[in-house]
Amino acid sequence: MIAPAIEELPLDSEHDVVSVRQTVRTAMSEMGFGLVDRTKMVTAASELARNIMDYADCGGVVRVEQLSEGLRVGLRLTFVDEGPGIADVDLALTDGYSSGDGLGLGLSGARRLVNEFDIVSSPGRGTTVTVTRWR
């Protein structure tokens, strides 16, 4: 049984993106996730953390939670920013659509790499993206 652990990391610079990847990598190894699961979650975390760097001027935070539900364990990441928000979430989740100069795979790709994906956003009030991967 893994003790519930919650950690909050800042997302203010590109070095923070690397730290988030490292934290997710370590947490998942400790929780016994396999290599492919780990790689997928680290990649999803990298995409979502970079989105905050690229779109939210004042940065944000990510909450890292180790979950335990009956026999299964999971890792949940909650990315929170108070940036400009997303006017059309469905459009932002479309492959290849980018309001910036990216490839437009960040949000849609991250969604495919996790088991649960949730996004809450409104213009002017920021964005919260929650992703979970279960073992």
Binding site: S46, S108, L113
Partner: protein, 131 residues
């Protein structure tokens, strides 16, 4: 600033990415490599990614840009050593790296690079003959 070393190997350049790159480091590599291709008149570039455990859309785009830039400068790029878990994740992410030549390991990568360079030379000779 921290830099990824670029080694010279005959008429090729060899880059082995050994660290978890932050974005500015990846951009610096792109710039350094382009400058080095021109400076050394290299015909090929081998990028070894066997030590990296994650390729996200940013790094994927960097690999594509390196391939396109070196091609514009008359050199070929081959990316080698992608870990299976990284390949699985890339495809699910939606990145196909369709514009990047890849090979399993350094040995087969160098072989492929030599073939590509030889094909370039034949093409160039044919162009000259046609003038």
């Amino acid at each position: 600033m921290e830099r990824i070393p670029i080694l010279r190997l005959g008429d090729c350049l060899l880059v082995s990415i050994q660290v978890d790159m932050h974005d500015r480091l990846a951009m610096a590599l792109q710039d350094d490599l382009t400058a080095k291709v021109v400076e050394s008149r290299a015909r090929g570039v081998l990028v070894d990614i066997s030590a990296i455990d994650m390729v996200d859309s940013f790094i994927g785009r960097m690999l594509g840009t390196i391939a396109a830039m070196t091609r514009a400068l008359g050199a070929e790029t081959v990316v080698v050593g992608m870990q299976p878990a990284v390949a699985i994740t890339l495809v699910e992410l939606g990145l196909t790296l369709s514009t990047v030549q890849t090979s399993l390991d350094i040995d087969s990568g160098i072989e492929l690079l030599q073939e590509l360079i030889a094909a370039d030379s034949v093409g160039a000779d044919r162009d000259r003959a046609g003038d």
